[in-house]
């Protein structure tokens, strides 16, 4: 066995340290043996304590790095984001009065940061983000929960061992690749089927994004359902329920908090997804409720504009403000999911 050799190594190192005390005994023969033993052990123990202390502190610093960077992300995003309020009136983040073609003053929500004066309404971007994320969440809820139920309850052990890694592989496909395929193949396909005006639209993006979050929903649902104690299932079978009745009326309600958490986490991922939406949604900042219209999400706005924006301009800070909003939304969603999962753990006493 592996560990026995390791433990014996430790014990030999302890013995060898005793040997070294014996050596020092020979050298300083004029002192009393017991004194020397105590003394040298004190030195050894002291040395060891110092080493332990240093290592513990080093490890502690390593552990602290995670917190420090989370804090730094918070501080930096918000520090730069808040500065946007000094340069742009808060009202302008909702909309501005503009002159339409008949010279009437109308209130419009527009994102045109490079114009003169720039228009910084984040309403179209918020709408764009949700117009992609909500359909994506719906699609991936249906498919992801279905996959999760299949993996946890229906699949044989052999099928499970094939399908579970395959779903993990799907999660491993880089998002830029999915975005690329949406752009080249899926967009054309969708346009031919639905005859949409925009080739690249929110729906294409939603399908692409759902591919990324299906594995998240499926694997967390799978975990949640497998944590349901088997006594519940057996009791249900004993009452004469069919397999599906057991799944739908016993197992799923018992694991519903885990499933909810997985959907919320999936939605957080959908809102934060960047490469797919920048390639597949057309990037037109429109205020619309039409799922087949081009939209511009918050993430795509940052990705498209940060590269060319001069440092210190109001657009630069506006982008950081969008980043802060995005961070806050996903932070809250993750927090809710985590609270739900923790509560479930306590309930099931895992």
């Amino acid at each position: 066995m592996n560990y026995t050799s390791k433990t014996s190594k430790i014990s030999t190192s302890i013995i060898s340290s005793n040997n070294s005390t014996r050596d020092s005994l020979k050298r300083f023969g004029d002192k009393r043996i017991s004194d020397l033993l105590v003394e040298s052990r004190n030195i050894n123990v002291h040395k060891q304590r110092v080493r332990e202390f240093i290592i513990e502190k080093l490890v502690f610093i390593g552990g602290l790095t995670a917190i420090v960077f989370i804090a730094l992300i918070f501080i930096f995003l918000f520090k730069e984001g808040v500065r946007a309020f000094f340069l742009i009136k808060p009202m302008e983040f909702i909309g501005t009065h503009i002159l339409d073609f008949d010279d009437n003053r109308v209130f419009a929500c527009m994102w045109q940061p490079v114009g003169e004066p720039g228009k910084f309404s984040i309403v179209p971007l918020l709408i764009g983000s949700f117009l992609v994320a909500l359909p994506a969440t719906v699609i991936s809820t249906i498919l992801g929960v279905g996959c999760g139920i299949y993996l946890a309850e229906i699949a044989s052990i052999r099928m499970r061992e094939i399908i579970k890694p395959a779903i993990e592989l799907l999660a491993g496909i880089p998002t830029v690749v999915i975005g690329f395929l949406c752009l080249t193949l899926l967009a054309t396909f969708i346009q031919n089927v639905f005859h949409t005006t925009f080739r690249l639209n929110a729906f294409v993006g939603a399908i692409g994004v759902s591919l990324v979050i299906i594995p998240v929903v499926a694997s967390i649902t799978d975990d949640a359902l497998r944590a349901v104690p088997s006594e519940l299932r057996e009791a249900s079978y004993g009452l004469g329920a069919t397999k599906w009745e057991t799944i739908w009326k016993v197992v799923v309600p018992a694991g519903i908090s885990g499933i909810t958490a997985s959907i919320i986490l999936g939605m957080g991922r959908a809102l934060g997804e960047t490469m797919i939406v920048i390639m597949a949604t057309g990037n037109a900042a429109l205020v619309t409720g039409n799922i087949f219209s081009s939209v511009r999400t918050m993430t795509a706005t940052i990705a498209a504009e940060l590269g060319a924006v001069p440092h210190g301009s109001s657009q630069y800070y506006a982008l950081f403000l969008i980043g802060s909003v995005l961070f806050l939304i996903t932070f809250v969603l993750n927090l809710i999911a985590e609270i739900i999962i923790n509560r479930m753990r306590k309930k099931l006493k895992l």
Partner: protein, 309 residues
């Protein structure tokens, strides 16, 4: 409901779940087949070892492959020490105390932060704050304060940190408490226990985490968009030390990356339709790279799980 109806229901919904699982697998297979079919025609040795020519419409993708490998190596070198020591701290020192809980919660949040936010952070913190700060203090003329490989690698390292921490933590938690207690009973100190008992047992888990982290980092695009990726570079990001003529990777240079190459070729290059084959070829290389890494992680995990049983 009659028994017959219930049985039909039973069969129908089980079949539905079956169908959904197979639909997802079918989509995965379709994606892979399409990429392999369209990409395999382009890939040959010339494609892999030549640089792009004629305004990126012909030639190979060697600089992108080179850049991706460099950035990933740099990322993992930065991420592993911090990630592993964080995991050690959480599992061995913090226990269930308040600080441990805070660290755990912040790691969970770090995992949920959108990748583009990391990109923003990379620009705001690494380039403009740290980089420009170094320039100002040392009196350089814009040396550190611009997009560079080192900043992109740092941003990516932050991104993969949760992956490494979580898998290391899991591996360390799976080492039986009795082993630790036995070592403590022999008079070993806490660090001796960690170094000689826990870490050797958790080695495979750490390795798996590192591989998963790398495969995540290889495919990410959003964080490196503004922190160091270049559209086209006429040279490799290599710096030759004067007098001794030893080429080393220059972390202060910009680089080309596979994922960024796909993005830029598909959306913003001179002729996106004509260069489709190159795009598919690049995609195939990227997919092959990430899948090999993912697959090796999965195989590792199965192998070590079987052995530990």
């Amino acid at each position: 409901m009659t028994i017959k109806k219930r049985n039909i229901f039973n069969a129908f919904f089980q079949g539905l779940c079956h169908g959904m699982a197979f639909l997802v697998i079918a989509v995965l297979i379709a994606i892979l087949v399409k990429i392999v079919m369209s990409g395999a025609g382009v890939i040959n040795l010339q494609f892999l070892i030549k640089e792009p020519t004629e305004g990126m419409t012909k030639g190979g993708i060697f600089p992108a492959i080179f850049g991706t490998i460099c950035i990933t190596m740099m990322m993992i070198i930065l991420a592993i020490p911090v990630g592993v020591s964080t995991a050690i701290y959480i599992t061995e020192y913090a226990g269930k105390g308040l600080l441990g809980r805070i660290i755990r919660a912040s790691i969970n949040n770090l995992a949920g932060v959108p990748s583009i936010v990391f990109g923003l952070f990379g620009v705001g913190f690494f380039i403009l704050f740290v980089g420009r700060g170094i320039d100002k203090i040392a009196g350089f003329e814009l040396l550190f304060g611009q997009p560079a490989m080192i900043w992109a690698a740092s941003t990516l390292a932050l991104l993969v940190l949760p992956v490494i921490i979580v898998s290391t933590e899991e591996a360390m938690n799976s080492v039986p408490v009795s082993l630790r207690e036995a070592a403590f009973g022999l008079g070993a100190t806490r660090w001796q226990v960690i170094r000689n008992v826990v870490l050797p047992q958790a080695r495979s888990g750490i390795l798996t985490g590192a591989i998963l982290g790398i495969s995540r980092g290889v495919g990410e695009t959003a964080p490196i968009l503004f922190t160091g990726c270049a559209y086209f570079l006429p040279r490799l990001p290599v710096f030759t030390i004067p007098y001794v003529n030893i080429p080393i990777i220059n972390p202060l240079d910009q680089f080309m990356g596979l994922s960024y190459h796909i993005f830029i070729m598909a959306t913003q290059s001179t002729n996106t339709a004509e260069t489709r084959p190159i795009q598919y070829g690049t995609t195939l290389v990227l997919i092959a790279l990430t899948f090999l890494l993912n697959l090796s992680a999965i195989v590792f995990r199965i192998y070590f799980r079987k052995r530990s049983r």
